[in-house]
């Protein structure tokens, strides 16, 4: 495209700039268009998990339900309550969407298609992803509403805490591939990292689920306690943008799982046919995303003290131990510094897989032991004080 523009008579720099701008528009518009389909897909899945039919009125299989919803929400009055901080209030939904679409700039859609292959891609993901937290806090802070503010505080505690295990999980693919570029990480996965580091994948998915504030970790918008959380005062299209941001963020976690652990666009003939790679990436992302939706629809919401305990007293120590052990094993196996084919990767992957199984067993045993002791403690207190179980359960640290 740059060449074409230069032929028409643009200077080289201007041609590059225009080509890049076109790339930006393609990537960002694709993200938003995909949302229209994705929300329908998620609602269908959610319906199936709850033994319902889901949207089925507008269009075949309810496919254009989201379009109808968009038109409806466009025509809704935008109510702004008294005392809001206008600037911050209006910027928050825009920033929420921007934070997610910016991530898509480094997503390698196929061997040839990538927005921009930053050499610090993984770092960029983290930096940009954190903007989403800022958007949530801005919304809660500026709303002039108790519940929204409370939700913003919870956001600080939750989103910020779960960032730590997420970073610890992200370090593992960086260590294994020796690169922070997303494209290079995909290229290095001669065997998908999910086989070499299943524990890391689990860490990433759990902390990712908490980062998007969904499933068992949806304390930010707990309907029964906080009415609806940080976006309670938002209506019309501004609320719509929060909805879009939430969906897109959730799907992006699926995409990142696919890129970092499931081999990204890798698959038969993906190197030569770009569209095939894109197809593989979407299939893998949808699978990872489906797992997230499954967890969301299955588990009940956790309490905030449990949420923070789970993070700081379980996920963070496990993440640190996991990182150290993976690093140790990686150094102990000879030849891991230059893996360039499937054959090179077999032995290290098998070794890491074995170590991971061992770690799973140890963690499981520790948890079972802890559970048994906790149970014995509660039963003893119930028997001793003649208390109902509910007053004692969960009172420990």
């Amino acid at each position: 495209m740059t060449g074409l523009l230069q032929d028409i008579g643009f200077s080289r720099d201007l041609a590059v700039l225009i080509a890049k701008a076109a790339g930006v528009i393609v990537v960002a518009v694709f993200g938003l268009l995909w949302t229209l389909l994705g929300i329908w897909l998620e609602r269908k899945w959610a319906a199936r998990f709850q033994d319902r039919v889901g949207p089925n009125r507008v269009g075949p299989f309810g496919l254009i339900q989201t379009v109808a919803d968009t038109v409806k929400i466009l025509l809704k009055e935008d109510i702004m309550n008294k005392g809001v901080d206008r600037w911050v209030f209006n910027l928050a939904p825009i920033l929420a969407v921007l934070a997610v679409t910016l991530i898509w700039a480094v997503v390698p859609f196929s061997a040839a298609w990538i927005g921009t292959d930053l050499n610090i891609g993984v770092f960029y993901l983290l930096a940009v992803g954190a903007l989403g937290t800022v958007a949530v806090i801005m919304a809660g802070w500026s709303s002039n509403n108790k519940y929204a503010l409370l939700s913003a505080y919870r956001a600080v505690a939750q989103l910020v805490s779960y960032e730590v295990p997420m970073v610890l999980a992200l370090l593992v693919p960086v260590l294994l591939s020796g690169s922070m570029s997303t494209q290079e990480i995909v290229r290095q996965q001669h065997i998908w990292y999910v086989f070499a580091a299943p524990l890391t994948v689990l860490l990433f998915l759990i902390s990712g689920q908490a980062e998007i504030g969904r499933g068992p970790f949806d304390l930010l918008e707990a309907e029964s306690e906080l009415v609806s959380g940080f976006h309670i005062e938002y209506s019309g299209m501004k609320f719509g943008m929060f909805y879009v941001a939430e969906f897109l963020h959730a799907f992006t976690v699926g995409v990142l799982t696919a890129i970092l652990f499931l081999g990204g666009w890798r698959g038969p003939f993906a190197e030569d046919v770009a569209i095939l790679g894109f197809f593989y990436l979407m299939i893998k992302s949808l699978f990872a995303y489906w797992v997230l939706v499954w967890v969301r629809m299955t588990l009940p919401r956790v309490r905030i003290d449990h949420l923070l305990d789970f993070n700081w007293k379980f996920l963070v120590p496990v993440g640190l131990a996991n990182l150290l052990i993976v690093a140790l094993v990686w150094k102990a196996i000879p030849g891991t510094d230059q893996i360039s084919s499937f054959g090179d990767a077999v032995v290290p992957t098998l070794a890491l897989l074995l170590v991971n199984v061992a770690m799973f067993l140890v963690i499981g045993a520790l948890l079972a032991d802890r559970g048994r002791r906790e149970r014995a403690r509660i039963e003893a207190r119930v028997a001793g004080a003649d208390l109902p179980v509910e007053t004692v359960a969960g009172a420990g640290d």
Binding site: L17, K20, G23, V24, I25, A28, L32, I73, L74, L75, E77, D78, I79, M80, N81, K82, I94, V97, L98, L102, A105, D117, L118, V122, F123, Y124, N145, K146, Y147, V156, A157, V160, S161, E163, V164, V167, L171, V174, G178, M180, V227, E233, G236, M237, K238, G240, M241, A245, L308, K313, V316, L320, L323, L324, A327, W330, K331, D337, Q338, D397
Partner: protein, 119 residues
């Protein structure tokens, strides 16, 4: 560092605003606008607002934010190490083991201090 790669990010940042802003502006134009006293009240499940929204909050939230800050800043140091790990010798591994051990000590300290306890 190739600056060309960053032009894309810069453009993305510049154009990215437009995508969510367009529907919001469109909504502003299309949607009705009939504000009134009751409608503009702060929403508290239908009853009138009690007190000011600027209530006190638990200091615990602040402590968690502080703990996070310490951890996140230190975790950033792990990235260059992980990046260059394949080229580094045993010494780097030893060094990082000590570093992570220090992190663990910090975690145990905050835990023992009761900073991680909610109530």
């Amino acid at each position: 560092m190739n600056l060309n790669e960053w032009i894309f990010i810069g453009l993305f940042f510049a154009l990215g605003w437009a995508l969510p802003a367009t529907p919001i502006v469109l909504g502003k134009i299309l949607a009705p606008k009939r504000p009134n006293q009751v409608k503009q009240q702060t929403y508290e499940c239908g009853v009138e607002m009690v007190g000011s929204p600027w209530t006190q909050f638990r200091a615990q939230y602040y402590i968690f934010a502080l703990v996070f800050l310490v951890f996140d800043v230190e975790l950033v140091f792990l990235f260059p190490w992980a990046l260059a790990y394949n080229q580094l010798g045993l010494f780097a591994l030893f060094e990082m083991t000590v570093f992570i051990f220090l992190l663990v000590v910090a975690l145990v300290y905050t835990w023992r201090k009761g900073a991680l306890r909610w109530s």
